[in-house]
């Protein structure tokens, strides 16, 4: 009878992290960035029905890269958490920080429990504030850590490269069309540095728009509105008019 091999805790954790990272890298990256009126989510997604971005609560949006069934499960858990909390206390008591903490605890427990396989997901939880200073963006990697981000963030396989591209070019107070253009440029760059074209129908775009009169600020952008914004971003000139269209 053979004795089990000894695996050091460091090695076990490194293996699990490697496993999760590889799973996440198989999916496409997505980006979340601040613009003048809120926060925009942009990703390449050929599916019209299986979303990477969604509404969690009034001012809170969710984005995920990695394995669909796992992040969908976390998304619904988040919606249940937010709705229950809002019902028990008040709608204002549901915050992105609270939600990010719960996700972090959940991902962390799963990651370090030997009985479960680690989740192959990376999440972004974003909350739009009354002003750009009040915006909050949290990135949650597979191991349950939380990173408080500002300006722009990318998650997924190619995230590091896209992040550095965005960091150099993202500015405060961009219009929606400008931010969208920058996001698409960042996503179009391959690992080897060459560019490819992402057609509008393969893009999934959503915004948390603080200027919306409704209490619920999350809104998907698609179809004619998306192509108008992309054109305005490409032209560079009429970006202001396009962001009005978005309202």
């Amino acid at each position: 009878m053979s004795t089990p091999f000894y695996v050091s805790p460091q090695q076990a954790m490194a293996d699990r992290a490697e496993y999760a990272r590889k799973g996440i890298a198989r999916g496409r990256s997505l980006v979340v960035l601040q613009f003048a009126d809120g926060i925009v989510f942009v990703g390449e997604n050929p599916s019209r029905a299986l979303h990477k971005f969604s509404e969690i609560y009034d001012r809170i949006g969710f984005a995920a890269a990695g394995k669909y069934n796992e992040y969908e499960n976390l998304r619904i858990g988040g919606v249940r958490y937010a709705d229950l909390r809002g019902y028990t206390y008040d709608r204002d008591d549901v915050t992105a920080r609270g939600l990010a903490n719960v996700y972090a605890q959940t991902l962390g427990t799963i990651f370090s429990s030997a009985a479960e396989k680690p989740y192959e997901v990376e999440l972004v939880v974003a909350e739009v504030g009354e002003t750009p200073e009040g915006d909050q963006i949290y990135r949650l990697p597979h191991d349950g850590s939380i990173v408080d981000e500002h300006g722009s963030v990318a998650v997924g396989g190619n995230a590091e490269q896209i992040s550095s591209y965005l960091d150099q070019r993202h500015q405060e107070g961009m219009t929606l069309a400008e931010a969208l253009k920058l996001a698409v440029q960042a996503l179009s760059r391959d690992t080897n540095g060459s560019e490819r074209e992402i057609p509008a129908e393969r893009l999934e775009v959503a915004v948390l728009d603080r200027t919306r009169p409704q209490k619920r600020k999350f809104k998907r952008i698609s179809g004619g509105q998306l192509s108008r914004l992309l054109e305005a971003g490409a032209a560079g000139g009429d970006a202001e008019g396009a962001s009005e269209d978005a309202e």
Binding site: G77, R80, Y81
Partner: protein, 281 residues
Amino acid sequence: MEANTRSTGRLPAAFLTPGSSSFMDFLSEHQPEILPGNRQLPPTQGVIEAPHGTTIVAVTFPGGVVLAGDRRATMGNVIAQRDIEKVFPADEYSAVGIAGTAGLAVEMVKLFQLELEHFEKVEGAQLSLEGKANRLSTMIRSNLGMAMQGLAVVPLFAGYDVDRGRGRIFSYDVTGGRSEEQNYAATGSGSIFARGAMKKLFREDLSEAEATTLVVQALYDAADDDSATGGPDVARRIYPIITVITDDGFRRLTETEASEIARSILERRLEQPDGPRAALL
């Protein structure tokens, strides 16, 4: 009662278990004690005294529906509140007005709004108008125990049916029985008088502006004959709540718009106290 933190701060298993898209179903499995219908009432003598909301009216017009309510809540023969709100948006394309025990009704509306929103977020699609109306039915039925003790909630549900392209009205009884109403409907203690007024004033080709005027006329007549219904209170600037639901979604008339309608009706009633007259034949 803590929503999230059961020992580890991790989402409890119930949150991550695949299941129904209904928030009420989730609550009844995870925390049944906070669902309003699950409350155990102590045996009581007689009727419990609690503020009551009174009259809600609705009328359809080509392209949409108008739902409006007066502002009075009564407790016995006392006016409990002069500016209560009894008409609420349920979601983008529907609204609910409530008559009956105010405390329970407001809680029911809050849960109903959440139920629709939760479904929409989980499924990524809205419920059909019929589906929404049925959901409200279930909620009223779960309140039957309290209704038997005198704490009834009787809502009026109105919405724009996106699939059929028109406004629709649903009325309910205390047992959750649901029926679709043609053209106009009313609920609450002043409803018999409001219904009479609407019967005489309704026409198939009303404009949105005429429909909003019609509902205020009906509320005025209800307040005229029912002591529990409040008329427009010009001195305190309290006017009926009027909401319009069309293809563009839900809209509540501003205080200025509501006061203009109420004041023009009041002015005419100074000359004709019984309001507009219908032809005899």
